[in-house]
C-alpha cells in the first residue's frame, strides 16, 4: 500500500529524512513515533504528496508519486484521509458542512451526501451536533469532526499527525478507539504520535524515527 525506497528529504539543507525505506501493507495500523524533529510529519507529508522527496521513490497504492502529475494530486488526496493536530476546520461552516465538503469536492450527489455525513458524524459520536459551529465544540469534539471529515469518503489510507497532541488521556483513548474502528473496516492507518500511552493501549507495529532515519520498526514485545 505504502512503499518507501531510499527516500531522503531536506529543508534548507537540514536533513528531515535520510535514506528511509519501508513497506506498509493494506489494512495495517502503524504507529509512527520518535522525538520532535525526527521526521514524522515530513514522512506523512511525503505520503500525502504535500512535498516531493529529494531522493528515492515512493509508491502509494502502486502509484509512483514522483511521476504523478500536479492535476492528479487532488485525486490522491481523496484516497488519503488526513487528521491534523490543529484540526484545520472551517470555522465559518457548521460541523455538517465541514464534513460534507470532503464529499462535495468529489461531486457526490446531495442525497447520498446527507446520509453519508450524518452516518459518519454519528459514528464519531457527533450525530447531535450537525448544525453546531466548530468554535462551540470542545477540543475532543473538534478532533472528532476532523476525523469524520478524513474518513467520510472511505479513504484507503488514513494519516494522522499527532491527533491526540492537544487531548487528555481519556479523549486520546476515544480517538484511538475511533481509529481502530476505521482500521477494522480495512483502511490502512498511519498514526504519528509522541504519546507512549497510546502505544501501550494497542500493540501494533511501531516505526520509530530518529534524526530522519528509521531507528526501529516492528511489533513491541508483550
Amino acid at each position: 500500500m505504502i512503499e518507501f525506497y531510499h527516500v531522503s528529504k531536506a529543508y534548507s539543507g537540514w536533513p528531515a529524512l535520510q535514506d528511509v525505506s519501508f513497506k506498509i501493507g493494506k489494512g495495517e495500523f502503524v504507529f509512527l513515533t520518535g522525538p520532535s524533529g525526527a521526521g514524522k510529519t515530513t514522512l506523512l507529508r511525503l505520503i500525502f504528496r504535500a512535498d516531493a522527496p529529494d531522493k528515492g521513490q515512493i509508491l502509494v497504492n502502486n502509484r509512483n508519486l514522483l511521476h504523478i502529475r500536479e492535476s492528479e494530486i487532488p485525486y490522491l488526496h481523496r484516497m488519503i484521509g488526513f487528521v491534523f493536530q490543529d484540526f484545520r476546520l472551517l470555522l465559518k461552516k457548521t460541523v455538517f458542512e465541514n464534513v460534507a465538503l470532503a464529499l462535495k469536492v468529489s461531486g457526490v450527489p446531495e442525497g447520498v451526501l446527507r446520509v453519508k455525513v450524518a452516518e459518519t458524524l454519528g459514528g464519531v459520536g457527533l450525530g447531535h451536533k450537525l448544525d453546531a459551529m466548530p468554535m462551540t465544540l470542545s477540543v475532543g469534539e473538534q478532533q472528532r469532526v476532523c476525523l469524520a471529515r478524513a474518513i467520510v469518503n472511505d479513504p484507503q489510507i488514513l494519516l494522522a499527525d499527532e491527533p491526540t497532541g492537544n487531548l487528555d488521556a481519556d479523549l486520546s483513548g476515544e480517538i484511538l478507539e475511533l481509529m481502530k474502528s476505521v482500521n477494522a473496516r480495512g483502511t490502512t492507518v498511519v498514526l504519528a504520535t509522541h504519546n507512549r500511552d497510546l502505544l501501550r493501549r494497542w500493540r501494533r507495529r511501531v516505526m520509530r524515527l530518529e534524526q530522519g532515519r528509521v531507528a526501529e520498526d516492528g511489533y513491541p514485545e508483550a
Binding site: F48, A50, D51, E70, S71, I73, P74, Y75, L76, H77, R78, F82, R88, L89, L90, K92, L101, A102, K104, V105, S106, G107, V108, P109, E110, L113, R149, N153
Partner: protein, 299 residues
Amino acid sequence: MTRLRYLLREAVDNIKSNRTTTFVALATTTFTMLAMGVFLLVYLNVQEALGSLREEIKVIVYLRDVVSPQAVSRVRAEIGQDSAVAGIEYVSREQALATFRAQFPSEERLLSGLGDNPFPASLVIKVSPAYRSSEQVRALVQKLNALSETEEVLYSQDWIENLAVALRYLEVLGLGIGTVLAASMVTILANTIRLTLHARRDEIEIMKLIGATTAFIKTPFVLEGALLGGVGALCSLFLLRTLFGLAEAKLALRGTFWGIGRGLVFLPDRVTVAFLLLGIMLGCLGSVVSLFQLRGARS
C-alpha cells in the same frame, strides 16, 4: 447540481464576507461602465445621424439658361440611365424663384435689384444607396460636369465625409478610452478578488488538502468576478437609461437632431446585451488575473 449550487453559494458568500470592498468594487465598476456607456451612446448617435445624412446625399446640376425644354428632357433621360442615380427632380427657374421667396420673404428687395429671375433651372439628383461613397459620388459629378448643358454641379458630400472621418477618429478614441476603462475595471475587480482570496487562504488550503481540484477552488472566485461585473453593468445600464431619459426631458432633446434622422436613440437591445456580457467578461477576467497567484501554490 450539488456542486453547481455549492459553487454559486460560495461566490455569494465571498461577496457577503467582504461587503465594504465589494461595495466599493461594485460602485467603481458601475461608474466605469457608465462612462463606457455614455461614450457608446454618443458614438451610436453620431453614427445614426451620419447614416441619415448619407440618405440625404443629393447632387444638384444647375443648367445653362439657354437650355431648351427638349434638351432638358434628353439630359434627364441620359442621366436617369446611370445606375448611381436613384431619382431626378427637375426644378424650373420659376420654381426656384418661388421656393426662394417662400423661404426668405424678407430678402425680396434683393431680387428686385437683380431685375429678371436670376435663378437657373436645375436637376436635383438623388444618389442610389449603393453609390454613396466619396469616389462614386465624385465619379458621378465628373460625368455631370462633362455635359454641355451643365453650368455648375453642387453636392453635399464633402462635409458628410468629414463627419465620417471624425466618426472614425471617435472610434479610435473610443477604443483607447474603452481599453483604459476596461483595464482599470479589471484591476479593481482583480484586487477585490485578491482580498477575498487572502481572507479565505486557510479555507483554500484545507480544500486542497481534502482533494478539491483547482477548478473547484477557483470557480467561486470567477463567479464572484462575473457577478460583480454583471451587476455593475446592470447598474450602469439603469443609470444610463435614467440619465438619457432626464437629458431628453430636461434638455428638450426629443424630436429630430438638426433635422436629421429620428432624433436621439438609446442603446439597441443587442448592444445592451453585449454591454452586459462585456461587464460579465471583464469581471471574469479580473478574477482570472487575481487567481494567477494561486498557480503553483499547491502544497
